[in-house]
Amino acid sequence: MRYPFPVGKSDFIQGDEAIARAAILAGCRFYAGYPITPASEIFEAMALYMPLVDGVSIQMEDELASMAAIIGASWAGAKAMTATSGPGFSLMMENLGYAIMTETPVVVVDVQRGGPSTGQPTLAAQGDIMQAIWGTHGDHSLIVLSPSTVQEAFDFTIRAFNLAEKYRTPVVLLTDAEIAHMRERVYIPNPGEIEIIDRKLPANEEEAKYPFGDIHGDGVPPMPIFGKGYRTYVTGLTHDERGRPRTVDAEVHEKLIKRIIGKIENNRRDIISYHTYELDDAEIAIISTGIVSRSAVRAVKILRDRGVKAGLLKLNTIWPFDFDMIEELAERVKKIYVPEMNLGQLYHLVKEGANGKAEVELIAKIGGEVHTPMEIVERVVG
């Protein structure tokens, strides 16, 4: 297979470009989108590459349609992705819920910018954390990943596809304008170097009869994609294991929703990923995600130089959330700081995790600029 970009070597590229290249290497062959800053470059790269690798890139009439199209493509057997920013992400929420309910593997990239509303189109923010986790209606779960470098934007995109396929669920890659537009050295591996996971297909007719059941006992039913003669009916209504609508049956609803949430919750160990830095003997913990983690690493260095035993927990997965790990950490440290580019979204999750075992303090910053390391240091040393 020929690729429209160099593989097996490093390149100096933007975050958005890295996401597009990773998607193609992960096997994505369907992209639908609607332009929005700061996510447009993902679309533009996909528009360049997709026809060359026999994939599809199409500009839809809006984000509702983009989200719908990738779900349709996924049921037709393709790995599919869309990318947007806050306002477009809001428009996708109804169909994001549909993807959760119908257990459709898709990847949705949200390149965060300052909001609410059209807010600050060109500036970075982390204001969509709650939207990514809880934006759609009803009881549900999904997976949210958050990179902090261009290399991670690349790596996490591949991981997003793998997790989506493995757990038959939408995966949100939550990045931001800063990473989207910054250029960094990224290693673009050879296809042979990457682990690629594909969705489970039904092994036989019998398995295909239960596209929403739990025939393997792992909570993830094989996906009978369209056109294979399985005659699968897919609906966003509450449905039984065979996919038949059962809208007023409390038991059926509870069983379905609990399985959909359970297949994520029961695999937390596999899905949750984080990095620690100087955390083992830390008395002060900084917990952050995405772009802010880079300032936090530097802040920890400065604090250590000043004799403060500080350490960093950088969250790569922000949903499912590891409340237990935060509680264990809270038992070990004196205080937890949460620097983030919003007025306290990750902070709420961390506080709940800490469960009163340690004081948790928010270091909020909005307006478009990332915290400087000194801004974090000064808040810690007082």
């Binding site: 026809p51 779900i71 369209f226 897919v234």
Partner: protein, 281 residues
Amino acid sequence: MYLRSAYEIRDKYLRKDMLPTIFCPGCGIGSALQYTLRAIDDLKLNPDEIVWVSGIGCSSRVPGFVNFDGLHTTHGRALAFATGIKLANPNLKIIAFMGDGDAAAIGGNHFIHAIRRNLDVTVILINNFTYGMTGGQVAPTALKGLRGTTAPYGQFENPFDIADLAVSAGANYVARWSVFNYLQGINSIKKALQKEGFTLVEFLSPCPISFGRRNRMKTAPELLRWYQKITVPLAKAKKMPPEELEGKIVIGEFVDRDRPGLVREYEAYKKRAKKMMGWEE
């Protein structure tokens, strides 16, 4: 055309374990469904290669009752989902079953853009002038003066002529019938299913329960007589002065052309891309 008995069609294509349907007595959706299945049967299309797509509404429940692959999606968005299915696997033939509210109100944008792209899909559109599933609110097709729960004193807005809209937006095939024109209906669906690009067969369909009751037409026969009164065949309409056409609905075949469909356009685009990049001659 050989007309099989309705029982044969039912046994061959419906999911027995999903019956009975949710449709009220006198509802026209079942007829449109039967015509579609008859067209498929007559053309000997392979059901394994057909996907039914729908939005939300009474009419959109149809894919659940037929034994085909089916995607019952969100209100108004069926054609956007269909775009993904068709482009990801062009071998699949797509039938979109939708309501007038679904297609022309919440889904209006997807509808006109799917037509503009000439998405390869056959749309069977159930026009009952109302929102059946939610209990009889006015639809954007409701003629002036018709009553609905959200216009209890009679609709004051202008209606959309969906077929007209589809012709202007660029559809390859557009026909409109009432569900009582069964032969024309089946023939139109057959034509639509054989063409590439966007094809639309709109059916004026009785909804005695949500619509008729509020407009002094409680039964299907009353609605039938009303349809006879308000519909005008295309040939006749061409000779009528505009004043006389006021409040009437023209039925017939509005357009039948062969512009290239989206799949063919995209295939050519891919070739062009590879050529421009020097990947191919």
